[in-house]
Amino acid sequence: MSKPTPTKLSLTKLVLAGAAALAVFAAGTLATAAEDMPPLPKHEWGFKGPFGTYDRAAAQRGFQVYKEVCSACHSLNLLYYRNLQELGLTENQVKGIAAEVQVSDLSDDGSVIDRPARPSDPFKKPFPNELAAAAANGGKAPPDLSVIVKAREGGADYIYGILTGYVPFEKLTPQQIKEFSVTKDDHFNLHFPGHRIAMPPPLEDGKVNYIDGTKNTLQQEASDVVEFLAWASEPHLEDRNRTGVRVILFLLVMAGLMYGVKRAVWADKH
């Protein structure tokens, strides 16, 4: 009489669970693929994966793009000027960057004054408040960019896709114009849900002049500013990755030891 043993069963179980999970995920993937959005452009980001790090030079250029272009409308509320030192800028450079900005403060006698910003100040907001931001931008405030890379499906690829995904009205097919009811005043973006986006194309070839001589193509500017924004969203990513590798190595050793101990303890029972 062949009795199914628990070992055989757990194997069956594993196979079954695997098959079930596969079927379910296949169903899920099919459903997602059905939505008619073009795939996001594939871009190699150095900060992806367990050993990922930020490209300091790219992020510094990205800060320049943010400062000269994005910051006209988008705040970066969670960042302080002091944080820029983490991108490899020196203390004096950061002091200089902050000092270019005037922020309002209270003087010792309580009167409102403007003074140059210090590294300990948060990034200055482009608008005094949300209402002002909305009023100046057609009724909707431009989103804060502090965690934008974490806050969008697709992350860095999506932001890069948006920045490089504009199609001028003249180049749209009649079908696209009809399907998404695009007019000459709209901005058509391949990767924006619904395609009509309020933000006019922010970047173009030659929009910023890099001091380090990097060629200022649209793709370069976009990828630099995404590197900067990715860092702004997850400033501790490198620390996290480094710690993670150590923790997992430790746990692997511990698991090996525990397995050895368990085998030794059970030796007389097997």
Partner: protein
Amino acid sequence: MASSHGAPPVFNNKLIAWIDHRLPIFSYIEKEYHTFPTPRNFNYFWNFGAIATVMLLLMIVTGIVLAMNYQPNADLAFDSVERIMRDVPSGWLLRYMHMTGASFFFAAVYVHIFRGLYYGSYKAPRELLWMLGVVILLLMMATAFMGYVLPWGQMSFWGATVITNLFSAIPVVGDSIVTWLWGGFSVGNPTLNRFFALHYLLPFIIVAVVALHVVALHVHGSNNPLGIDPKGPQDTVPFHPYYTMKDGFGLMVFLIVYAAFVFFAPNSLGEPVNYVQANPLVTPNEIVPEWYLLPFYAILRAIPDKLGGVICMFGSIALLFVLPWLDTSRVRSCTFRPIYKWFVFLLVFDLLVLGVCGAHPPEGWYVPVARLATAYYFFHFLILLPVLGKIERPLPLPSSIADAVLKKKAV
């Protein structure tokens, strides 16, 4: 099994002996965690009770430290979570451990529940043990839901709005109850305050119920993969060191997977839109709960009637309370139930299907699939389980655990 415990331990350390004579905590530990006779044939599914306990403690410890830095105020909450991650030393680690920990706590508990279902751990004399487990699951769901509201992102706010609104389905008093829950006329600062207070309280109630769960477990001891009772010392081993070491190994493997998510993909289990601050004027495209609540969310939406949906959703868990009496088979373990075994796998598949349906907007194919899967869920417990127990012919049970273990070795 309590009768087979050895003689009371003798402590050589005078202080320990003095304390133990007056408050027998050391005897208790010795009896319940050292010499405690435990079936010798556990497989790795039996690790998950210990793993879940460790996850609960880990959630409490990280949660207490997070609470020291968090601001339960609608204007400050969102930024305060980011400030914790940016400015509190190792704050990113605490926050990601807690956030990912919720998923892994549920994952461990779901495996633990599956183990109970498959090996019939809910059957006599362990019905109360099982029911206390269902209470723990309900408390966990409430705690997780309120915890998800605290970062005050878009999904926090709208999730809270949808779930609290469920109570408006109650006839006559529904709307008043919802206003009372909110502390106002919409989800707002008072709601966030009370959810924070309750999110801090409930885990300690969970600890208390876990303690009862363990007390109930130690009356008759653990079930085992064969589902037959140990008949003597040859069928058992002392809990320590045999299972402390085996649990330790299982825990390490579990923690490796957990750490991989905490450190390398902490946001992969959550919704990106929750990194957008709560905005009562903008509804997200889809409002979905965390993955571990999706099957129940799918059941809620599968029923075309609001009150019916709410009843079915709560009913799907309430049903588990009476599971010990719905299952009419006298055999515990599915190892010896050739037909029911496959239906347990089918139930797991059904829950996965419900999970996928819960993650997508209720349109197109998802609607009939969710309804079918919901119907099957109730069919499984209310009809299949009672009937199958009567007609299924179980395989012959081995005469004892030791007998089965030795035979297996001989093969």
